[in-house]
Every structure is written in C-alpha cells, then in structure tokens.
Amino acid sequence: SFDNSQICSGGADKAVALWDVTTGQVVRKYRGHAGKVNCVQFNEEATVIVSGSIDSTVRCWDCRSRRPDPVQVLDEAKDGISSVKLSAHEILTGSVDGRVRRYDLRSGQLFSDYIGSPITSVCFSKDGQCVLAASLDSTLRLLDKDTGELLGEYTGHRSTTYRLDCVLNEQDTHVGCASEDGHVYFWDLLEGSLALSLPVGQGVVQSLAFHPRLPCLLVATQGQVTLWREDTFQPE
C-alpha cells in the first residue's frame, strides 16, 4: 500500500489476503475468485484491492468495510486476467484473450484494445499517457492511452510461455521486460532500440519491478531476488 502498512497478496488458494506489515499477520482474506489469483493491486489510497484471476474476472475488494463480497466484478474478459494495474481513476487489465482493457472510472468508459497475442503484463507510463503491454509473441507494445494507437514496439527478448513482467523506468525513458532466457532487456522508449540486456540468471526471470523514483531494479529469478542499481551508486 502507499504507506507501506499493508500488503495484499493473491495466490493459488483463490483468495486475496491482506497482510499487516508490522505484525506480519493476515488481517483479512477475500474469497470469491473461482480460480488462481494472478495479480493484485492496491488503489492509491489502499481502500480497494483489485485482483485479477485466472477465472477471467477482475474483482474490486473493499478494504474499508467488512464486506465479504467484492464491490464490483469486471467480467468482460474472455480469458484469464494476467495483469492488473491501477492509476488514480483507471483500472488497466491485461488478459489472455489478447486484449488490454482500461476501465475509466472518471468517464465511465471501457476501452478495449485488441493486441492479439495473450497479454502477460501491462503497465502505465509514469506520465499516464501511455500503456505498455507485453504479450506472448515476445513483443512489447507501447500504446497511446487515449486513442489506442501503437507508439512503439520492442522486441528481442523471449516471452512465449511465462507470465513475465514489463516495466518502465523512473523517467519513462526506457522500457524493460523480463525474458525467458535469463536476461532483463531494456529498450529506449523512443527509438525502440535495445539499450541493455542484464544477465540475471540462468532460468526465466520471473518478476520484475522498477523503483518509482530511483534507478533501481528488483528482479526475481529462480528463488533468488536481486536488486540492481546504477553504477555510481554507493551503498551506505
């Protein structure tokens, strides 16, 4: 959550768990998904947990009340939800049916962009103008949020089977994505040229996260989590 006081998690037990950071205990469990929960996300104020599941629904859980059922179920997807991201007023979902759906709460509209290949990960750019979508055809696509036009395409990595993450760096200058060949690739956002490929491990790079403000990258691969900083960084 925004204040680092809570953690939400989802798992194969079809439940979304809300953890208290200080005590390390599960405070609540939200049950209702019919399948594995693939992705969870807090909203900005940590009042809602949005979870996407293999059961092709996105469920919005209320953290404030003791309501056991979700506030709203977004069941437009035709296949499992692989990725969910939230902005201040939007819910961005990527689904295996090859669509990136953006629910705009402010305008009350649903924008559904067809990509074709199963989406593995979606994310907003920091300026909120673009949407990055990684799909199983080993391609990252940068789409204009408002029109759905393709702004850039990034290839070179391998992503055919796993649900791999994609990220944008802290300044929106580069686009990064995990790969199944044990590397993390970074492309220049504008030029689309491969800027960097970080050898992380042998196997699939399972998860990837970029610090929102610092050039700092967290990578998980094969039971190992590594933190990457820039060259000039001096650990205290």
């Binding site: 405070v27 009042t47 809602v48 201040a88 402010r106 009350g108 067809y114 990509i115």
Partner: protein, 918 residues
C-alpha cells in the same frame, strides 16, 4: 344447665385453634388463596426463593444488605496483635443464623458422621423398619439387623487385604520391574529449571536404577473403568446435586479433582468413603444469575474487551489439506519433533498411533502375459439351429458341449427393443412412426421422389454444384435451386407445423401469419402463392424473408415436434426463458482486428469503446465522481434480446473468406441500439417497392454465394475482374487495405439491421423521402435489376462504378443519395482514410451519370453547410483520396464519374454496413 353445659364442653374435643370471635359489623375475611400465601421466616421476613432449579437461596435484605437500614460494617479492630491466630473467614461467617439452623443450608447440629452412623440411625427408615418388623411374618426379625451392622469395607477388599494387597497397589502377580526404557541422554543439556526428581514424570521408573534381580514389585494400580449403568434420564455426565458434596467443599473437591481425580474415583469405587472434614465450603457463585452451587462461572462481570478477540487470521486450518507436502516450513518443522510418524494429520481422540507398523500388504504382480498374446476376444460364431451346415454345428457341439440355439436361448443383449417387447408381451408404444415419410400422403411421397431424382440428375450435370444440391440450404443455382427447395419444402411441410407449436409466440401477428401459412401449406398450396398471408406493409424483401423463415420454422419444428410430443408435455407456465441478457455492446469480431494487428494498424481498428458503469462505492473509494449518477446499472449495460430470434434460425454458413475491414470497422458504434435511427436504407417509398424486383430472390441468391465462389468467375466482366480483388490476388497484395472484397452472404449485421429496427425505419421513412431525388432513377434501376443474372455482391463494397448490372443487387438498388449523406454527416463516425472506398454508392450506373451530377450539386451545397464538420476529417479525406486514386487506376473505370463520386464519397466515408445499420 350450666353444669350440663360444662360437662358438654369437657366432653368435646377441640382440634386446632379457634377462630377469632367475629366482631359485630365486621365482614368475614376471605381466605387468602394459596398462591398469595407467603412464607415468612422466623423474623417475619419474607422468604424468597431464587432459582428454583438451582436451589438458590435468599440472603440479606432483598439480596442486598443485612437489614432494611443497610449494612453496618463492623467496627474496625486492628488485627496486628492477633495476626498469628487470625482465621480465615469461611462462608459461615457471612451466613445468617437461620442458615446455620437445622433446616438451613449449613446446619450446625451435631450429627453423627457416616463413619459412625449405621443405617439404623436413619430415623425415618428406622421407623419404617420398626413398622415393617411388626407387620413382618416373623415379628422381631428386624431387630437382628441392628446387630449385624454392615462395615464399610466390602468383602472383596477384605479378602484382598488378607491376601496381602495394600491400597494403591495393583492386583495381580508380582512382577519384575522392567529396566528403564530410555535413559536420559547425558549429552543433552537441559535448560531451565529441572524438576525435582520426585516430581518428574515417570520418576517411579527412574528413581531406582539399582534393581536387584530377585526383587519383585506389585503391579501398578490400574484405573478401573467405571461401568456404572446409566439408569436415569439425565444428560450424559450430569450429576444431580449431592447436598453433602455440594455444601461441604464442592470447590475443594473440584480442585482436588484436577490432580487426583483418578485416585479419588478409585477410592470411591472401592467403597472407601472417607469423609473429608477439612474441606472448605464451596459456595462459588458470585452474584445473581449464577446459581449458588454452579461450578466456576468465571468472571461474569468481566468487560468484553476487543483484545480478547482475534484480529488476525492465525495459522488457519493447518490440517485442512491446503498445505500438503508443500506446506510452509513452520508447519513441517512443528510437526516433525512431535513424534516420528509418517502419518500426517490429526489423530482422533481415543486413538493412538500404532507403535508397530503393520506388515506391508504383499502385492502379487499380475501374471506375465504370453509373448504371442493379443488382447482381442474372438467370439465363437453362434450357429442357429436349423442351419444347413450341420457338420459345423455338430463339431461345435462337440467342442463346447452345448449349442446356443433358438431365440429363447439368445442372449438378451442380442435383442432389440421391439423383440424384447414382444417377449414381454407389452403393447406397442403409441409414438410416432420412425420416418417422416410415413406421414406423407402418397402424392407427396411421389413428388419427393421426383425431386430427388431431379436433383440427382442435376448433380450429374453440375458436378461443381454438387455440394449445394445435397444440402437444402444451398441450392445449386440461384433461381431453380430456390424453387426446388421450396418444392421440397412443400412436400415436407404438407402436414407439418402442428398448431400447438408457436415459434413466433412473442409476435402475435407474426404467429398468426405463420399459422395461416402452415394451414395453407397443409391444404397443399404452393409456397409461392402464399404471399397473401404475409404482411402487406412489409417490403418485398422482408416478405420474402419472412416466408422463408416460416418455411424453415415449419420444417425445423416438425420433426422434433412430432417425435418428441409423445414423450413430453408442454409447460403449463411460461417463464421468461426466451429472453437472454446480452451485453448491449459486444466486442466485435476479432478477424478484422487480427488483420489490423498484423498491419500494425493499432488505434481505432483495434479499439472498442463501451459505456461502463462503475459501482458507486468503487467511485467513492477511488475519490472519483460517479460518471453516471442516475443509473443503477453496474458494469456494461445489458439489453434483453430474444433468445429465439430470427438470427438463430438463419443457418446460412458464415463466410469463410476474410472480411474487409471497411465493412466491419467501428461496428460497435452502429451496434448500439440506443442511438437514434434517422434513416434506413430500407426506407423505400411504396412506389419503389412495387418497381423493385423481388428482394426475396436476393436472399436465395446471396445464399448461393458459396457455390458461385467455387465456380470460376466466368460471368464477371473485365471491369469486375479488376474490381473484385477476390478473384485477382495480385491486387489484393497491392492494395490489401481497401480492396478486399467481402464475399459470401451479406453479414449477419445486415440482417440484424433489417429486422431489429424495421419499425423505426418505417416511421422515419416517409419523412425522409421528401428530400430524396429518387424518382427519375427508379425506372432505370428497374431495368437494370431485371437484368440481374449474376451473384449480388451486395455488401461487397466494390469499387464504385465497377460493374453495372453484374454487381447490382437487391440491396444496392436501394436509394443512396442525400439521405445517406445526411446520415453520414450527422452521426458518421470518423473513418480511417484507407477504407473510405468501401462505400455504398457503387451501384451507380453510367446511365445515371446525369443524375449523379445533379446530386453532386446538391451535396456541394450541403458540404458548405457542414464545412466545420468536414474540416475535422480533412486529413483523413486527403488520404482517402489518395487511396482512391490508386484504386481508380486499377479499376480502370470511367474517371469522370469517379472523380466526382470521390468527393461524394469522402463526405460520406461510410462503410455500407454502417449505413445498413442505421
């Protein structure tokens, strides 16, 4: 007299106390009824009874204090000097004196204890016995009972004692003590306080490590199982109040029980009824509501704090199977040291894990198969008796010993239902005959045969159209196939469509029409002549459509209706099953999107926009104003659609070829039914209706598309060849965007547009017609439409001016003009430029050039009017022009017209389908 009276008085015996003499004028008091009588104690206080079931008692002044005036504390006396001999206050110190009296709860009388009291001392019993003794046959025998006072020790115990048994020992032969099973590992360090050796568990075993060989010990005492039978009707484990126990140290006993329950029980069993005097009085009730003698009702005044409740989900359901062998480490490690067992899970209470594992079940492997074994079973041929080959029969008889012969010996599996029925003597089920043909009259059957033969002949003649002639739905060639199909239908439908089936029940008029239709069908009329049953207000095309629909419905429902009617009954109550909630807007086909993705044409083509209603609470949590504050919908708006709509009956095969994007793009906008329908392509004046040739033909033509595709495009003119890229693949490669022609039947949306909104269109049509300038063209169109010989590329969005009559069709003969333009300019969605060529005015003929020019003038005016709008699209328009110019070259059509029409086209820039949708 006085004496006599005295003597009389002496003679009288008076019982009870005399009533008080009545005073004069005083009324006789009514006796107090029983329920109002009160019990008072010696001091005149009301005796109050509390908790009748728990034996409650009253204390103090109305359960509060000692007196009415209140509780007077005793004067403080310093106990400093008497500290040593200070006694603890018992319950008696707080009791009233009457409680200590004979009938109080703690009588202080000097009584003999059980140890010394014999049975005879019971006064009442004594009396009873005395009486019994008098009455008994041998008087005075009871007196001997007193002499033989029973001792408390039972004979068994006495005997045991004599045999050397001592209390606390077990019974049985003396045993040698086993050596300690487990010596404490000296290397293991014990942290914390070690228990004193005497208290440590199993100290008996360990205390004497020195064990002489010849010393034997009595066996350990065994806790006998209490086998007292349950004779009462109380709940299990319930014990009635035993006053002696309850009053004299129930609490103490309870405490004792915690540790020495076992020994106490045994001693009780053994009849050792020691009366423990030292026990404290056990009044543990704390206040009202708690029975005085209730055991340990802890802390009823305790406040309920939240800390008593769990706020976090702790190790939840560790044994629920969620954690298998993948359990988190803590669960695994916790369970291990408990005991070394393989068994995972809880052990039921009362069970313990076997120390010795049972011998593993021996598994015998299946016998190994012979090498040449083949896993097939060959049945011996069953030879029916009376067969000619007697030799074989005999041989078999010899080999098997018996012969399966005769129907009686046939296995029941060999029989079919009818045979079985015969054997069982059942009557035949009154069901329909298996074949439809049996329902047909002789004439019809013959006709059917004819048709069949004719079709077979045609099959031979036209191998290309073989497929179509086989299936009813795809006639061989447009006209005669349609005809034939109808004839076939007529034959089949002769007695179809029983009256209880109502396929169009929702639309009563339509249903009526349908029923008439069926009725006349039964009478043997030709389908073609039955147009009179159809709605005269409908367009011809629609009529044709409906007629076809009826045919289908009659045919489709006939079979199921008749075969199943004997098995099922109709529902008595109709539930609303024929409506389904369907999201109003649906993401349209992905075919075109896929092509768009392939071309990296992201944007409008790949995007669908829907109205979406977030939940109110969700908006609140996101700090966003509800975009639809008045709506109660959540999610995508839904509409009720007919489950069994016309479209479900249309079994026309879907086009397999790729569909042009131009026709499909942005369908979701036109999809929305809410949008006002201003104009329709189907809004035609009555005049035109008459003049147009039968639209119904168009349908069958459209349906026959499938075959014609397979046929070589022979009838296509040169122009058409250039225009329809379907047949010219090179052009597709060049200009894949705007030239891909839609082939096959007109898309489903077309039909939807026609059927769904027909009423709306009707109303609006008359208004629109006034500005139309159609009249001069209609006659010409009439002429061209009659010429139709080829397949209609109805929605195929060809290049304009490509084909003349060849590509013209029922649809395209409809007016396209200002009306269209209006529609386009008012709500036309922006079109990506590349697809603007797919417009609908393609049918314009060269002959119509003059009209076209006139129109152009008109549109120019309009364009001026709506200049602002156009500006928006300017960019796209330019692009579109460019593209169209390209296409012009290809099409090699007349350029004069096209340049003009281009401008028209740009302003409209609409796909035909979209227009159709309006």
């Amino acid at each position: 007299a006085a004496e006599s009276s005295d003597s009389e008085e002496e003679d009288l015996v008076s019982y009870g106390s005399a009533l008080q003499p009545l005073q004069e004028g005083e009324r006789i008091k009514k006796p107090v009824p029983l329920q109002e009588q009160t019990v008072k104690d010696a001091k005149g206080r009301y005796q109050r009874f509390h908790g009748a079931f728990t034996g409650g008692f009253s204390a103090g002044y109305f359960n509060t204090v000692g007196t009415k005036e209140g509780w007077t504390p005793s004067a403080f006396v310093s106990s400093r000097q008497k500290r040593a001999d200070r006694t603890t206050l018992g319950p008696e110190d707080f009791m009233d004196e009457e409680d200590l009296s004979e009938f109080g709860i703690a009588p202080k009388d000097i009584t003999t204890t059980d140890d010394f009291a014999s049975k005879a001392k019971d006064r009442i019993k004594e009396k009873a016995r005395q009486i019994a003794g008098v009455v008994a046959p041998i008087p005075g025998t009871t007196a001997f009972d007193d002499l033989i006072g029973p001792s408390k020790i039972t004979v068994g115990v006495e005997l045991l004692r004599k045999m050397g048994w001592k209390e606390g020992q077990g019974i049985g032969p003396r045993v040698k003590r086993k050596p300690c099973r487990q010596k404490p590992d000296p290397t293991v360090k014990i942290y914390g306080c070690a228990l004193p050796p005497g208290l440590s568990e199993g100290s008996e075993d360990e205390e004497d490590e020195y064990q002489p060989e010849n010393v034997t010990f009595a066996p350990k005492d065994v806790m006998p199982v209490d086998l007292t039978p349950k004779e009462n009707v109380h709940g299990l484990g319930y014990k009635g109040l035993d006053p002696s126990q309850a009053l004299f140290g129930a609490s103490g006993r309870e405490h004792l029980n915690l540790f020495t329950a076992g020994s106490e029980e045994t001693s009780n069993l053994l009849g050792d009824l020691r009366h423990s005097k030292g026990r404290k009085l056990g009044i543990t009730g704390q206040a009202f509501g708690v029975g005085a003698l209730e055991e340990e009702d802890d802390d009823i005044y305790a406040t309920d704090t939240l800390s008593k409740y769990d706020t976090v989900l702790k190790d939840e359901e560790p044994g629920d199977g969620l954690y298998g062998w993948t359990a988190p480490k803590q669960y695994k490690s916790k369970r291990r040291p408990e005991r070394e067992f393989k068994y995972i899970g809880k052990i039921l209470a009362g069970f313990s894990l076997a120390s010795k594992s049972s011998a593993p079940i021996k598994i015998y492997p299946p016998p190994s198969l012979p090498r040449n074994y083949r896993p097939f079973h060959y049945f011996r041929p069953v030879i029916i008796a009376g067969n000619e080959n007697c030799h074989l029969q005999k041989a078999l008889e010899e080999s098997t010993g018996k012969l399966e012969s005769g129907p009686a010996h046939q296995s029941r599996h060999g029989l079919n239902a009818a045979q079985r029925r015969e054997q069982l003597g059942e009557t035949e089920l009154k069901g329909p005959a298996p074949s439809i043909l049996e329902y047909l009259c002789e004439k019809d059957r013959e006709r059917l045969k004819e048709v069949k033969q004719a079709s077979e002949q045609q099959m031979k003649a036209k191998p290309v159209s073989q497929q179509s002639s086989n299936s009813i739905l795809q006639p061989a060639s447009p006209e005669d196939a349609a005809l034939k199909w109808r004839r076939l239908l007529e034959g089949q439908l002769a007695n179809a469509g029983s009256s209880d089936f109502k396929p169009f029940a929702k639309n009563p008029e339509k249903q009526k029409r349908y029923e008439n239709f069926v009725k006349s069908l039964k009478q043997g009329e030709k389908v073609d002549t039955m147009e009179r049953f159809l709605d005269p207000n409908m367009t011809e095309w629609e009529r044709g459509r409906e007629q076809e629909e009826f045919c289908r419905a009659a045919m489709f429902y006939r079979s199921s209706n008749s075969t199943l009617s004997s098995r099922f009954t109709r529902a008595k109550y109709e539930d609303d099953v024929d409506k389904v909630e369907v999201p109003r807007d649906q993401e349209n086909d992905i075919d075109d999107k896929e092509t768009a993705v392939k071309m990296k044409m992201f944007g409008k083509l790949t995007r669908d926009t829907f109205e979406w209603h977030p939940d109110k609470l969700l908006c609140k949590r996101f700090n966003v104003r509800d975009p639809y504050p008045d709506s109660s919908i959540v999610g995508l708006p839904k509409v009720k659609r007919d489950k069994y709509s016309v479209f479900n009956f249309l079994t026309v095969p879907e086009p397999t070829t790729s569909v042009t994007q131009a026709t499909k793009e942005k369908i979701q906008e036109s999809n929305s039914l809410n949008k006002p329908k201003k104009s329709s392509r189907w809004d035609v004046s009555d005049k035109e209706k008459e003049k147009k040739d039968s639209i119904s033909e168009f349908i069958s033509l459209a349906r026959s598309k499938a075959d014609t595709q397979k046929q070589p495009p022979a009838p296509a003119t040169e122009e058409r060849g250039a225009g329809t890229t379907e047949t010219v693949p090179t052009v597709v490669a060049d200009e894949d965007k705007n030239q891909e022609e839609e082939s096959g039947r007109p898309p489903m949306d077309l039909f939807k547009a026609i059927f769904v909104s027909s009423s709306d269109e009707k109303s609006s049509s008359s208004e629109e017609e006034s500005d139309e300038e159609q009249q001069p063209t209609t006659s010409e169109r009439q002429s061209e439409t009659t010429k139709q010989v080829d397949i209609p590329d109805s929605s195929s969005s060809n290049l304009q001016e490509t084909a003349t009559a060849a590509t013209d069709s029922g649809i395209s003969s409809l007016p396209t003009s200002k009306q269209e333009l209006d529609a386009a300019e008012e709500f036309g969605p922006k079109l990506p430029p590349a697809f603007s060529s797919g417009r609908f005015c393609k049918h314009l003929d060269r002959k119509e050039k003059h009209r076209k020019i006139r129109e152009r003038h008109k549109t120019k005016k309009e364009r001026k009017r709506k200049k602002e709008k156009k500006k928006k699209h300017k960019k796209q328009k330019n692009k579109g022009k460019h593209k169209n110019k390209k296409s012009e070259k290809d099409s090699s059509s007349d350029t004069t017209d096209s340049s003009d029409s281009l401008s028209d086209m740009d302003t409209t820039g609409l796909s035909p389908k979209e227009l159709l949708r309006r």
